[in-house]
């Protein structure tokens, strides 16, 4: 009998020591999710990464640059038709995300208080989420097309002499991204704004601050970290633009975004190494932009905003 506790003690103490650091059987609950993320996200990602370093025999990359590990990347950066997709994507994604965030600030600022019909207005502004890219694209083609209502109105009023071309080019994609992306940015901005304690502004008001001073020196600094996050998420949405770039854009030239290049390589040329390489470059470019924004955000004040908590 004397031997049993002696054997059991180190085991129990180890369990205790682990439990003190927060490791106990509760963590087993994490297991399915971890297995899941590793199997369906990390493994494919790593697989794609190593695939991108193994050019397929007979592919464009292998023919031009051999089967060395960087052939796909060299092809991407040497071929202007591929290389320029980065620039094209940024040229569409950055302004669209920036516009969505900046436009949602004054509107959310107006709507942060309580007023009658607030829920109705919020719902109407959120409805475009349900439209989906295809209906938006179809609608833009019909509404802003050469014979659409918009051009008819413009012609009848006499603002223009001949129909304005707003679809099948850069602007069509930007419009489509605004319609689908704005509600999302607005919702986030509104939630960040309502999280700021309104008494702070009232205190500033008693000290004689006008609305611009209140906004510039009280609300904006508190809102800025939230705006950075909103911009990041809006940019992710705008950066992965795919269906609308094909439908309302000019997918061969002006709006040939990087996701079209990746899709083209994977499912039309069946060159999975090239497609993986493009996908990796796409992820890298996006993470660089987000990293820059988050680095800027890290320099901002991030204390309690005093709101709900």
């Amino acid at each position: 009998m004397a031997a049993a506790p002696a054997v059991a003690r180190p085991r129990i103490s180890l369990r205790h020591r682990l439990a003190e650091r927060g490791i106990d059987r509760t963590l087993l609950l994490l297991l399915p999710a971890v297995v899941f993320v590793v199997a369906l996200f990390i493994y494919p990602f790593v697989y794609g990464l190593q695939l991108s370093f193994q050019p397929q025999a007979g592919s464009d990359a292998a023919n031009k640059y051999g089967t060395g590990p960087f052939a796909t990347y060299r092809l991407f950066f040497a071929d202007p038709y591929l290389r320029n997709t980065i620039w094209t994507t940024l040229k569409i994604g950055l302004p669209a995300a920036l516009f969505n965030v900046l436009a949602s600030v004054p509107i959310a600022y107006r709507m942060r208080g309580r007023f009658r019909g607030k829920r109705a207005v919020t719902t109407i502004l959120v409805v475009p989420i349900t439209l989906g890219t295809v209906l938006t694209a179809e609608g833009l083609l019909a509404f802003m097309g050469p014979t659409g209502w918009l051009n008819r109105i413009l012609l009848d009023v006499g603002i223009v002499d001949h129909p304005v071309r707003l679809t099948h080019n850069y602007w069509g994609v930007v419009f489509s991204l605004t319609i689908t992306g704005f509600p999302f940015a607005f919702l986030l901005t509104l939630s960040y704004l309502t999280g700021i304690d309104p008494t702070l502004e009232r205190a500033a008001s008693t000290l004689g601050a006008g609305w611009w001073q209140r906004f510039r020196h009280i609300t904006l600094p508190l809102l800025a970290p939230g705006l950075a996050i909103t911009f990041c998420l809006s940019f992710v949405l705008a950066f992965s633009v795919f269906p609308s770039a094909i439908m309302v854009g000019e997918p061969a030239r002006q709006t040939r975004v990087i996701s079209i290049a990746a899709f083209h390589a994977a499912f039309e040329q069946y060159d999975y190494s090239m497609a993986s390489a493009i996908a990796m470059i796409m992820g890298a470019v996006e993470l660089v932009v987000i990293g820059l924004v988050l680095a800027w955000r890290a320099r901002l004040y991030k204390g309690a905003t005093g709101g709900k908590g």
Binding site: P32, F41, P106, T122, V134, E138, T147
Partner: protein, 290 residues
């Protein structure tokens, strides 16, 4: 922290009602009205076209018909497509809640080495655009002969869904007092009983919110489904996209009719979601995480 469901406890602003607005307000509301007007034009162009007989120039179509709805239903086998959409969405919801909620519980209740790394791993699938990981994921799924059928589509859609459930549920669980569990344990409840009788009822509203949001996201998820779906495992969005790219041979009104059906079903889901979730509350919860 406030619960996800609760009405906002914000201190109300006691501004007196003014009839005349300041110029700033006029500009803001004017641009909102302009945006909504454009939106109305975009949506009604599609709706009008889907009911129109022929529409070449002119303010309105020549005549009205509901023919296109029947035609698109038959031609694209929308009954089958809707069944697939429903199957995929329900499977994704059930699995993501079953996998995500326990993980969120562990993340909310324990601090352990490597927790930050884990959180980043759970955040990445939401932060990285679907096409970026969708292409390698589809390649892997094709390698294991899972893509092109229902199971592949479900697996691909789970990738952003599980982290999303974790992200929504973690703050929700954090605001449930751990003393309640401790008290139950004092009274002799076992872990299983605590989960089914104590935590289950408390978590139900949060799980419902997460489930509905996942449902909306999955029905609307284009890229991942597009990359992994085969001919008989298309969801409504993907069928819609294909009908656009094949519009040369079919009447455009059929596509528009299908787009209207899609939007109506999304609208029903979103209105249902907004009844359970206050969207402006949800995001604040996420913000407080970091």
């Amino acid at each position: 922290m406030t619960a996800v469901m609760e009405a906002p406890p914000t201190a109300e602003e006691k501004t007196p009602r003014r009839v005349a607005m300041r110029p700033g307000a006029w500009i803001v509301w004017g641009s909102v009205a302009f945006f909504l007007l454009i939106l109305l034009g975009v949506v009604s162009s599609v709706v009008v076209n889907s009911f129109g007989r022929k529409w070449f120039g002119g303010w309105l179509p020549k005549g009205w018909t509901t023919h296109w709805y029947g035609a698109t239903w038959k031609e694209f086998d929308l009954g089958g497509v809707l069944t697939v959409t429903l199957e995929v969405a329900l499977a994704v919801v059930v699995v993501s809640v079953l996998v995500g909620v326990p993980a969120a519980y562990a993340l909310a209740r324990r601090n352990f080495p490597g927790k930050r790394v884990l959180m980043v791993a759970f955040l990445l699938p939401i932060l990285i655009p679907p096409i970026t990981y969708g292409v390698p994921l589809a390649t892997v799924l094709y390698k294991f002969h899972l893509a092109g059928r229902l199971s592949g589509v479900i697996l691909a859609n789970l990738v952003p869904a599980v982290p999303f459930v974790i992200l929504v549920m973690t703050p929700f669980i954090e605001q449930i007092d751990p003393k309640i569990e401790a008290a139950a344990r004092m009274c002799g409840a076992r872990t299983r009983v605590i989960f089914t009788r104590i935590l289950g009822p408390l978590l139900l509203p949060g799980m419902l919110a997460a489930a509905i949001l996942v449902l909306v996201r999955t029905v609307g998820m284009f890229e991942l489904t597009f990359l992994t779906a085969g001919a008989d495992s298309q969801t409504l969005v993907v069928a819609l996209y294909y009908s656009v790219s094949a519009s040369g041979i079919r009447a455009q009104q059929e596509t528009d009719a299908m787009a209207v059906i899609y939007t109506l079903s999304m609208l029903v889901l979103l209105v249902a979601a907004l009844r359970f979730v206050n969207p402006t509350q949800l995001v604040t919860q996420i913000k407080e995480r970091d």
